[in-house]
């Protein structure tokens, strides 16, 4: 069975500092990996996804993530964060067996302080 672990429940960071949100997954088959963001009182929106090919994936709002198969990780990074990046971030996995069903991690609350 698939599972996703987000290693940090909360990440406080100062504005313009770099940030990394960690995600590890487990699966017995090839997977697709996603990062979604949830701003306060809103639904989730897709930041980026890894399907195949280059292991470095670039998304919206300056975020990027690197797929590491040997470490089963898909960490999200941004070199310089803004106050507006304050939100909850979810890592998710799906596979060709389960179709469109996404398994989400517990979420990481990113808090950017001035």
């Amino acid at each position: 069975a698939q599972s996703v672990t987000q290693l940090d429940s909360q990440v406080p960071v100062f504005e313009e500092a770099p940030v990394e949100l960690r995600c590890n997954y487990s699966s017995s088959v090839s997977v697709y990996l996603f990062w979604y963001v949830q701003y306060p009182n809103q639904g989730l929106q897709l930041l980026l996804k890894y399907l195949s090919g280059s292991t470095l994936v670039k998304g919206i709002n300056g975020f990027e993530a690197e797929f590491n198969k040997s470490q089963t990780s898909f960490h999200l990074r941004k070199p310089s964060v803004h106050i507006s990046d304050t939100a909850e971030y979810f890592c998710a996995v799906s596979d060709s067996v389960q179709g469109g069903k996404l398994i989400f991690g517990q979420g990481t609350e990113l808090s950017v302080k001035p």
Binding site: L44, Q45, L51, F90, G99, G100, G107
Partner: protein
């Protein structure tokens, strides 16, 4: 283009009652997913409908059920409500049923069980 819409925004029920939540997908999307976001528990997959059929189901009791209508809108029913059913219920839609599809989320229905 209208996004995924959910109604009602808030729903207050008492224990033992039934709740009905509604979701309209983006025009042209045939797959609808339901997730439960309870405080501190992340997003838990509930149900996936595609082309009117239930394609996958999460680890929830049978009192959680739903359906998809010919216009692809969907309904989630929760019978015999329990206090722990209090959560934000998110609906998402996608254009296809593949595991690589991007999900578009609504803003959710906040269900409170008293």
């Amino acid at each position: 283009e209208a996004g995924v819409t959910q109604s009602p925004t808030h729903l207050i029920k008492t224990r033992g009652q039934q709740a009905t939540l509604r979701c309209s997908p983006i025009s042209g999307h045939t797959s609808v997913y339901w997730y439960q976001q309870a405080l501190g528990l992340g997003l838990q997959f509930l149900l996936w409908y595609d082309e009117g059929e239930e394609r996958n189901r999460g680890n929830f009791p049978p009192r959680f059920s739903g359906r998809q209508f010919p216009n692809y809108s969907s309904e989630l029913n929760v019978n015999a409500l329990e206090l722990e059913d209090s959560a934000l219920y998110l609906c998402a839609s996608s254009h296809g049923r593949g595991a690589q599809e991007k999900l578009f989320f609504g803003s959710g229905t906040q269900l409170s069980v008293l």
